[in-house]
Amino acid sequence: MRTALVLLLILALASVAGSLVPQVGVADARIAQTFRDHPLRAQIYDRLGLFDVFGSWWFTLIYVLLFVSLVACLIPRTRAAVRNVRSRPQPARELDAMRHYAEHPVPEPPGRVIERARRVLGRRLFRVEASPADMTDGSPLALAADKGLAREVGSLLFHWAFLLILVGVVWGRGTGFSGRAVIVEGQTWTEAHANYDGQIREGRLFGEDHSGLRITVDDFEARYRVPSGIPEEFVTRARLADADGRQLGSVDIRVNHPAAAEGVKIYQFGYGWAPVIEVTKAGEPIASGPVVCEQDRAPEGVSQLQLPWNCVVKLPTLEPQVGIAFTLWPDIRGLTSLLETGTSMPMLVRFDPVMTFVAYRGDLRADQPVRTNDLDTSVLQRWTEGAVGAGETKEIGNGIEVTFEDLRNYTVLEIKRDRGLWLLLAAAILILVGLLPALYTSRRKVWVTAEADGDGSLVRVGGFALQRRPQFEEEFVRLVDAIAGAPRTAPEREEVRT
């Protein structure tokens, strides 16, 4: 037990480190800042895995060792507990050597007294075992009783449940996946590996059995309080269909209210803007459709809502190739405020959306792996720039025209499958169910003998408690009274007055 406890404390200390040093995935910006401001320290932290404590090899080592020592500790305890539960209470001699002992003369014969003792103890949920009656040699009638096995059983359940947690986590993560889907209003998205655009983590035991669920997003709404900018509601209204196209019904996916279908859960994760842009050359359309725009991360002290959205339209079929970088302001007042005062204002609602753009000519380097919304401007020449409002058309030059047809939202959904959740829930229940008796019940043992004594008999009661002895002291007095059939003479509960 000591080894396990020490390892548990080491685990806690490692967690302290993990909460003080910024962690990958939780505080990436602060990690980058540490690398800028304290390169040496950042290097050392990085080598030691301190930026990813909970994924580091030594953290894994600690908890693997912890579980090994826990199991090593639990197996003999479980064996002993099973033995204890199976065996009946054992008879004892020398009752008067027990911590608690009392003897009472009673008017009834021994058999009646023992019968009453059995009832009294049974009513109090003791396990009772009478020694075989053997009146011939004049030895007294005896019974042994004990109570409180739930303490050890509960403690074992509690501890084993942590192993179940480990199994649940490994199984759930191993066989599951979680990824992010970007879906523009009006589009249908199918749950399959290719459609995550690489934004997916799949477990090692994952068998590529994606659900094929189809999500059609009808509408996304982000509502903020005006003017505070406190978010009020994010909701994706969608229709679901299974892989064969059978409709599964409509769902509203909100923060805190995920949808579930076909074994996957769908969470509201984020959203953004997708302007519908059409590009024509001499009246012939060359590109058309919604374009997903992204935001830079807001610097300290600036609200994310103050920032515009960026996206790129690439036209590789033109000669020379053309790339247009758009900057979208869903609320034109954000842009005017920036131009007039130097700072933008939070854009809480859609209001006269406008896009500024810069067009480039040259080689898009389409053969290089570049993100959709990145433009490699190294071999491109800046060509023209301008602004286009919703519903407007602007000519870039050479007969190329850009139309800002419509502004839609896109929603980012986190899609997840974790088959270990049931194990974890079961473990959580076992932990609580085990913890209560482990903490609040106590192991007690009582022996009773009754011996013929004149007309009646002499009853002897001995016993002890392994825990909660002060309480047992009172309980013992009450037990003896009840067994002896005496009127209640137990003293009032002693109060600690100081």
Partner: protein, 315 residues
């Protein structure tokens, strides 16, 4: 009545409660020193009046904000302070009939409330969508009740350590320093020592002094902490369930999660220490102190200085 009217009532009642607690604290400390029954009654009345005013304050705050009043640090601190006093009155005064610890419990609450009103106050506001879940109600309720009990148990543990030191210096050391385990039996599992929840000082005669005997203090502290621990466990579990609903992951080693886990580990260590011979009493109490510090970090430091998902619960 308007929201601002309720907010006003809440603030006024908060002040009444704070001053009642301060008065009660002074009276209880006076009682501790001089044992005047009337002073104790003044202390008890002041604390009770404080509890009533405090309840009014918290309810009014909930009405003003239009939601349960435990949505940010100020509200959470206020509720914690109320529950510590209430738990003291019910558990220590009511169940254990100990009157001398009131000053310490009230001092904790006064301190918590002073910090709350000085540094953490924000006006009543509605909640952001991520906090809008009924799991949150269960999670926050169990966390706040268990942290109030952990705080109360820890405060009593501090008093125990002081008293124990005093008793040690006043009495010769007990023979072999522990209860005599004459009745240890064979089938008791080896790691499970007899008398897990008994202080080693049980054999020592309780001497009359300023405070209850160390043995009694130790027992009351243990009971309180042992009651709080499953609740804290339940709070972590419901928090994980809520995180699964809100963020799509049940555990993410976010600083608040991490520190609640650390606190859990330390108090688990305390409970194990209580069941281990040679670790009962002072050593276990020291572990409980570490747990108390960890609780305070979980509670204050994570929200105020460490960035994480829980930090949007705000100040």
């Amino acid at each position: 009545m308007t929201g601002s009217g309720w907010a006003r009532i809440s603030t006024d009642a908060f002040n009444v409660a704070l001053w009642s607690y301060i008065a009660g604290m002074l009276a209880y400390f006076h009682y501790l020193a001089f044992r005047r029954r009337t002073v104790w009654m003044i202390g008890l009345s002041a604390a009770s009046l404080g509890v009533v005013a405090h309840t009014v304050s918290i309810v009014a705050r909930g009405v003003a904000a239009g939601r349960p009043p435990w949505g940010n640090m100020y509200e959470y601190s206020s509720l914690l302070a109320l529950l510590v006093v209430a738990a003291y009155l019910v558990v220590v005064e009511g169940m254990y009939r100990i009157r001398t610890l009131g000053g310490f419990a009230l001092a904790f609450s006064v301190f918590t409330m002073a910090i709350a009103v000085q540094f953490l106050y924000v006006g009543p506001q509605p909640l952001v969508p991520a906090l809008n879940s009924y799991w949150r109600q269960i999670h926050v309720t169990s966390m706040i009740v268990s942290s109030s009990l952990l705080a109360l148990g820890s405060v009593i543990t501090i008093v125990y350590l002081v008293k124990d030191r005093f008793e040690r210096s006043a009495t010769p050391p007990a023979i072999s320093g522990g209860s005599t385990d004459l009745d240890r039996v064979e089938d008791a599992p080896p790691h499970f020592e007899a008398g897990a929840d008994e202080p080693p000082a049980a054999a020592r005669p309780a001497r009359r002094g300023l405070l209850p005997s160390a043995a009694v203090l130790d027992r009351v502290a243990y009971r309180t902490l042992a009651f709080a621990f499953p609740l804290w466990t339940f709070g972590i579990i419901t928090g994980a369930i809520w995180a699964e609903e809100a963020w799509g992951r049940y555990w993410g080693w976010d600083p608040k999660e991490t520190w609640s886990f650390i606190t859990w580990v330390v108090f688990a260590g305390y409970l194990h220490a209580r069941a281990t011979s040679g670790w009962k009493g002072r050593r276990a109490a020291v572990i409980a102190m570490v747990g108390f510090v960890s609780l305070l970090i979980t509670y204050y430091a994570v929200n105020l200085w460490i960035v994480g998902l829980h930090s949007y619960a705000g100040v």
